[in-house]
Symmetry: C2
């Protein structure tokens, strides 16, 4: 049930790009800055951001003063979307996947105990990941920060 490094790095980068700066708006950041702050191998991050860009989640600008920024409001980008792009389907087994269904070969899918249970798992993962946006997370983080400060 592991999230790959690709997925982890991508999520970290997206969270960073969704975290409002001093002007209160999501920043434009260079690969270099993200990779240094999050300790992600630069060339690897490059590929990841490119993938995310090609999927329509990021915009970028080339040249001096360029960089990456969110293509949509942080409230409209879910964890689920990011993970699916970078790591593929959320489902533990293909026969319960919504985006990449494949039969598992058991005689009767409707009465397969493994499938019934893994279906529940997939649904609960999807519920959280699809129900959590980048904005939800940055809000939650700043809330926790405040709570910790006042204690």
């Amino acid at each position: 049930m592991r999230l790959s490094k690709r997925g982890e790095y991508g999520l970290r980068a997206m969270i960073m790009l969704a975290t409002p700066g001093q002007d209160g708006r999501p920043p434009v950041l260079q690969i270099r800055e993200i990779s240094e702050r999050e300790k992600i191998p630069g060339k690897f991050l490059e590929q990841i951001l490119l993938t995310l860009k090609n999927a329509g989640l990021l915009h970028s600008k080339m040249g001096v003063g360029g960089g990456y920024h969110l293509a949509k409001p942080a409230g409209e980008i879910s964890f689920g979307h990011i993970v699916r792009i970078l790591d593929g389907p959320l489902a533990p087994v293909k026969c319960v996947s919504q985006m990449a269904y494949e039969p598992c070969g058991c005689p009767d899918e409707e009465t397969c105990g493994l499938r019934l249970t893994m279906g529940d798992v997939r649904n609960s993962i999807a519920k959280i990941l699809d129900g959590t946006s980048l904005e939800d997370v940055t809000r939650r983080v700043s809330k926790v920060r405040k709570t910790l400060k006042s204690s």
Copy 2:
């Protein structure tokens, strides 16, 4: 978020071993029979069952008329236990794992957005998998079977 083949095969085998026979009790089955009925490569299944046995979930008997059977009542063996034995921790990232915690390297774990969200995911997976026993599943399956028959 994938379950490995090892984990899948192991769960299938355990469900089979938990499904009561005509005498109403969990059966003793040979590797051969399980591997044929579930179409699992025999030698691979052999390793898996051995692992499960060494973990205390199965008992076995060598020699003529031998085979494998559950070491405990089906109600006392959870999916979570089986998956952890065969596939390792349920947590998507190590920094939220209960059984195999490792720091992820972010400056402050308490306020890491990735960690907060993945913690939720790990908890909801664990809740389902640890809360579902082999007995729960075989019951559910036979219930679904009846429902389908009467329609």
